[in-house]
Symmetry: C2
């Protein structure tokens, strides 16, 4: 009976940080396909080529995996917003383009966006991950606020409280992205038409 236990093939190829990346790759693939909640740690582990408990050598919880992906996605958004803001002449066209950077990101990375801004609280996500996705989101907001403030300095913004206008604009952008993500099967008008209408509406409402 003491057969030499046909040991499952160990896969020690991942040395140090490589395994971590493999796990993140597997998780991102699965999250994108099925949504964060519908993916189990065993599925992630299988795709990564390791056992399920091995995940916990690299991430404290499943939420931490999602949080890591989220933070990385937001770094991308922050960079894009920053790039769009630097070369930003205070014209209505550049204003609309800055708004579109945000919308495009949300629609391109719906999972990251969901994790950052649409996940229910109380589910322990924000808390368990030390609010790191939240901080990453705040970074993006800060960049956005600087862009809006640039327009405000030129005297072209409506309203006299630039922070309030920034938050209001952000809310306006978030609403469109969040609804398009969460209610994708709603009978929306053609997407480009809707985005153009929305961006134009926000521009008219925010600029003099």
């Amino acid at each position: 009976m003491q057969s030499p236990k046909p040991r499952s093939p160990r896969k020690p190829k991942g040395q140090g940080a490589e395994r971590r990346e493999e796990i993140l790759d597997a998780a991102l693939t699965l999250f994108s396909q099925k949504g964060v909640h519908a993916v189990s740690t065993r599925q992630i582990a299988e795709l990564a080529g390791i056992s399920q408990p091995a995940l916990y050598a690299y991430f404290a919880t499943k939420d931490h995996i999602a949080a890591e992906l989220c933070v990385r996605a937001f770094a991308i958004l922050r960079q894009r917003m920053s790039d769009a803001g630097v070369t930003c002449q205070p014209t209505p066209q550049t204003f609309e383009r800055a708004l579109r950077v945000y919308i495009d990101f949300g629609l391109e990375e719906p999972n990251a966006y969901r994790v950052a801004f649409m996940l229910e609280k109380g589910a322990g996500f924000i808390e368990q991950t030390d609010g790191r996705p939240m901080e990453a989101g705040l970074d993006v907001f800060q960049v956005f606020h600087e862009i809006v403030s640039g327009f405000h300095a030129q005297g072209v913004m409506a309203g006299d409280d630039p922070l309030a206008v920034t938050q209001s604009l952000w809310a306006g952008l978030h609403g469109l992205v969040a609804l398009l993500i969460a209610r994708a099967d709603f009978p929306w008008v053609e997407r480009e038409t809707l985005i153009a209408t929305h961006v134009a509406m926000l521009r008219r409402g925010a600029l003099k």
Copy 2:
């Protein structure tokens, strides 16, 4: 040893539809406190005073409980929007007031709003519940669209696609409500200032 089995106290008080309401009350309470995802069927059953499997005599799945709450929330919002729309003269003031009806509902009934508009998809929620929350949401949107169309008929709306403008306005409203609910600890400006700024921005963007 064949002690007469200290039978757990049966609780047959719920006759027919009463139990259903008790379950919904318990579920709404728990969902509000901890979020839909963090509440288990056993917790709902305990608060409702029945065993966990007894839930399934009234609801096919846990998602169906949330769906029922969702539909009811939509019905309340629909009624309020309808009431506000009937007496609506096409002035900027009444326009802003109509927008505030939506925002006020969301902030007064954050739990209902969360269940209605902020539940995560991908967990099979909309699908498993035969799209009933979706239909209820369409009802609300229809009322909102009629109000906006009323303004459009007066020739005071910007843009030439009233449906696109309606969807855009809805997105703008949803964004503010959703963010105020989901990120209550964000460093927002004073709430009334933010709402006033937002409503004014949407009004300027939507009306000529």
